[in-house]
């Protein structure tokens, strides 16, 4: 996935503006796809695409903010750069809260737009990497047996093998075996690595995770 070039998706109901933006982005050799309505965009949306969205706030039927919500509901993480004719503050605050990376006013200066786009692409790349790593961890976690998972929760909570054995009603030796197995499955060598991994996977404390099933 990472090897393909990022694409900038531009949505604006004004064909002239759309065309001019596409030209500008072409001139710096970015991949551009244009859509004249949000609906058109949603119809042709491919979840795997990466890059960023450049979105006009004021559009008929479905405005920029609504599209942003719709995309969020679909679990899309494409960063959004908003363009607006008259940047009013409440609207930009809402957009930023909903996760917009930038909010630019028209007419937009090329440098500002390009920087915003690069930043957005970078953000996207970063978030994708994080996302990939998380997926990796989750995949590893899913290979654990329920008993191993139970042991993991206790280990990252900082409990000793002896204590864990007492809690789970078994002997310390059994716990040591489980612990060795899960370290191998999760490909970590030290307790510190294990804790860091668990932290990234969102496994924080025994209190909150005691009754969790498999992830």
């Amino acid at each position: 996935m990472n090897e393909s070039a990022p694409t900038v998706l531009v949505i604006d109901d004004d064909p002239s503006v759309l065309k001019s933006l596409a030209r500008l982005l072409c001139s710096i050799e970015l991949n551009v796809t244009t859509f004249s309505t949000p609906e058109e965009f949603l119809d042709q949306f491919e979840p795997g695409i990466h890059g960023c969205l450049v979105l006009d706030v004021a559009m008929p039927n479905l405005n920029g903010l609504e599209l942003q919500q719709e995309l969020a509901a679909r679990g899309n993480e494409l960063p959004i750069i908003f363009l607006t004719g008259h940047g009013d503050i409440p609207m930009s605050v809402q957009a930023m809260k909903q996760g917009a990376v930038d909010f630019l006013t028209k007419p937009v200066h090329d440098q500002d737009l390009i920087e915003a786009i690069y930043a957005a692409i970078e953000t996207n790349r970063m978030s994708r990497r994080t996302h990939d790593e998380l997926n990796e961890i989750r995949k590893k976690l899913s290979t654990l047996t329920p008993r191993e998972r139970e042991v993991l929760d206790h280990v990252v909570s900082g409990r000793l093998n002896k204590q864990i054995a007492a809690d789970l009603g078994t002997v310390e030796k059994t716990i040591k075996v489980h612990r060795a197995h899960l370290m191998t499955k999760l490909k970590v060598r030290s307790l510190a690595d294990l804790v860091r991994l668990a932290e990234r996977a969102g496994i924080m404390s025994i209190a909150s995770n005691r009754n969790d099933g498999q992830t």
Binding site: S16, K19, S20, L21, A58, P60, L83, P107, V108
Partner: protein
């Protein structure tokens, strides 16, 4: 006797002088002249009779009796003239015959015997008459031609009778009275005088000649008639004086009324092309002195811009079957002030429908016009203010309208810069970009022009306007606002919509107001039901109707009557002037604006305007 005859003569002379005087003054000249001549003749005859009575010599008697036929001829001619002139009747051949015979009598009197009466007078008989006076009467052998005299008398009598008969048939009361009085008195005189003279001459009776005496009734009759006329004319002149005074008074009243009403009456003789004002005020129309002027002259007095319109309405009124004229025009008065006039007239046509004359009045309406203009100006100010306020409310979306082309221009230009910075610049692409920049610039200019037109405080125009275009223009101005409010627009424009006469900007303002109200009404409506309807259609042969509907809550029925009243508002920030101004604008265009509630929800505002001439533009 002497005294009586002298009196008769002097009475006759008095009458003669009286009527001579009237003749000189020129009242019924010929009748009075003939009467005067008759009276003089009678006076002469009476004088001669007196001389006959008193003469002692036969020669003298013969001479008098010879020459008495001269005044008799004069008398005949006078009577004939009187009848012909005064009664305008009588056969002329009879008149000529009577006068001819009388002339013959004079000639015979001069040529045969001693006179027409006697071949020879043999002696004078002294007779004692009433009052113990002694008079002379001629005696002798009679002239055989004597009969010519009575014959001419007879013919004259027939002439008079005939004239009287004609008048009797003529039928008026006056005519009949005159016929009787005059003919009977003349015939009486003629027969009495002639018969008596004949008897005296024949020596049958011993009395003086009584031609003068017997003429008295006729003199009195003639005089009675003439005096009657005189009296009548005196009465008439009294009446005339009265009615003249009356006329003067009513003229004066009229003038006072006209002055106070700033009203002037005029008359246009169309055949001679003369305009004449009944007012002697030289200030009328700014003409320096009262005079008759032609229609073209009148037009030249008017304000130049008004001439065409006045000419047009006059021409229209001249068309057969119309006849009504009305126009308003301005005139620069000699003091340099411009006055407004309203002029109305009515044309009189001849029987073959040719315009003969136009009568009319002109009213100075300057003060009314000034007040109207002041109100108009205030209304324009208010309209403009409201327009500017409306645009203020729209400023966000108007900025957006302007921003779009500017954004496109900037991005295009910067893209071009970057393309050019490359080693292998694609010139065709650059060309394309420049073309787009030019187009976008034009688009920005259009937006600005639309705005400037709405913001401008200009004169109200009266030009053909297609309401479909107005709808489209307004939707362009407001489109981004509609987008921001998530409003769907449903437009249904009639094809071939006739034009209306009006002010494009003001009509845009009305539509803008109605559409913005509709949008606002739907601010609490579910986004998917926010629908704006704008329809145009032809309503009847001479009206165009525009309707703006929304899907909002509608107008509360208790407010339906008051929404067009000033300062009535349901908005938090509204002045309550939008709809009243819309209605004022539509009313000023000769149309109507009203609102109804739509079913199942929302309100519809309709306005209709008269078409310019039923022709599509």
């Amino acid at each position: 006797m002497t005294v009586l005859w002298s009196m008769l003569a002097s009475v006759s002379l008095t009458f003669a002088l009286l009527h001579l005087f009237i003749w000189i003054k020129g009242l019924q000249p010929w009748a009075n002249l003939s009467f005067a001549a008759a009276a003089v003749a009678i006076a002469v005859i009476t004088g001669m009779e007196l001389m006959v009575m008193r003469t002692m010599s036969i020669e003298q008697m013969a001479i008098i009796l010879r020459w008495v036929h001269l005044p008799l001829l004069v008398l005949w001619v006078a009577i004939v003239c009187f009848v012909r002139c005064y009664f305008k009747a009588g056969r002329s051949w009879l008149a000529w015959l009577a006068v001819g015979l009388r002339t013959l009598a004079l000639i015979l009197s001069l040529t045969t015997g001693q006179n027409l009466f006697f071949d020879a007078i043999t002696g004078l008989k002294q007779v004692v008459v009433l009052g113990g006076e002694t008079i002379s009467i001629a005696q002798g052998s009679l002239n055989p031609w004597y009969v010519v005299g009575p014959l001419s008398t007879l013919i004259l009598a027939v002439f008079v009778l005939d004239a009287a008969f004609t008048m009797w048939r003529g039928g008026t009361d006056t005519g009949r009275r005159r016929a009787i009085v005059f003919s009977s008195s003349i015939i009486f005189f003629l027969l009495t005088a002639t018969g008596h003279s004949a008897l005296v001459n024949a020596g049958v009776i011993n009395s003086p000649y009584i031609v003068g005496l017997s003429f008295m009734p006729i003199l009195l009759a003639m005089s009675y008639e003439l005096s009657f006329d005189l009296l009548h004319s005196a009465q008439l002149s009294d009446q005339l004086q009265d009615s003249e005074a009356e006329l003067r008074l009513s003229k004066q009243r009229m003038r006072v009324a006209a002055r106070s009403g700033e009203l002037r009456m005029w008359e246009w003789d169309i055949v001679r092309d003369e305009i004449w004002s009944t007012d002697d005020d030289p200030m009328l129309y700014g003409i320096s002195e009262p005079q008759k002027i032609s229609f073209e002259h009148f037009l030249n007095i008017l304000y130049e811009e008004d001439r065409k319109q006045v000419r047009h309405s006059v021409e229209r009124s001249l068309i057969k079957g119309n006849g009504h004229y009305e126009s308003e025009f301005r005139i620069t008065m000699p003091d340099g002030q411009v006055h407004w006039f309203n002029s109305r007239g009515r044309i009189e046509f001849s029987e073959d429908d040719q315009p003969l004359r136009m009568l009319g009045v002109t009213i100075d309406i300057t003060r009314r016009k000034q007040a109207e203009l002041a109100v108009q100006q205030q209304r324009n100010e208010l309209t403009h203010l409201s327009r500017v306020t409306t645009l203020g409310e729209l400023s966000g979306s108007l900025a957006h309208e302007l921003n779009q082309p500017l954004a496109a221009i900037l991005s295009n230009a910067q893209a071009a810069q970057r393309f050019l910075a490359r080693d292998n610049a694609d010139l065709a692409e650059i060309q394309d970009i420049l073309m787009d920049i030019v187009n976008e610039d034009k688009r920005a200019v259009e937006v600005i022009q639309r705005l400037r037109l709405l913001l401008k405080k200009g004169e109200v125009q009266h030009l053909p306007v297609n309401l479909n275009n107005v709808v489209e223009e307004v939707l362009k101005i407001i489109s981004s606002d509609l987008v921001n409010h998530n409003i769907n627009v449903n437009i249904d424009l009639a094809k071939k919509l006739p034009a209306v006469i009006g002010d494009r900007v003001q009509l845009q303002q009305v539509l803008l107001n109605l559409i913005m109200n509709a949008c606002e009404a739907m601010s609490h409506t579910n986004a998917d039901r926010r629908r704006l309807f704008v329809h145009t259609k032809q309503n009847g042969a001479d009206k165009v109707q525009v309707s703006v509907g929304d899907q909002g809550p509608g107008i509360p029925s208790e407010s339906l009557g008051s929404i067009f009243e000033p300062f009535f508002t349901t908005k938090l920030q509204g002045m309550g002037l939008g709809l009243p101004i819309c209605r004022t604008i539509i009313t000023a265009h000769g149309g109507q604006l009203w609102a109804i509630n739509n079913t199942p929800n929302g309100a519809i505002f309709h306005f209709k305007l008269p078409t310019s001439s039923g022709e599509g533009v």
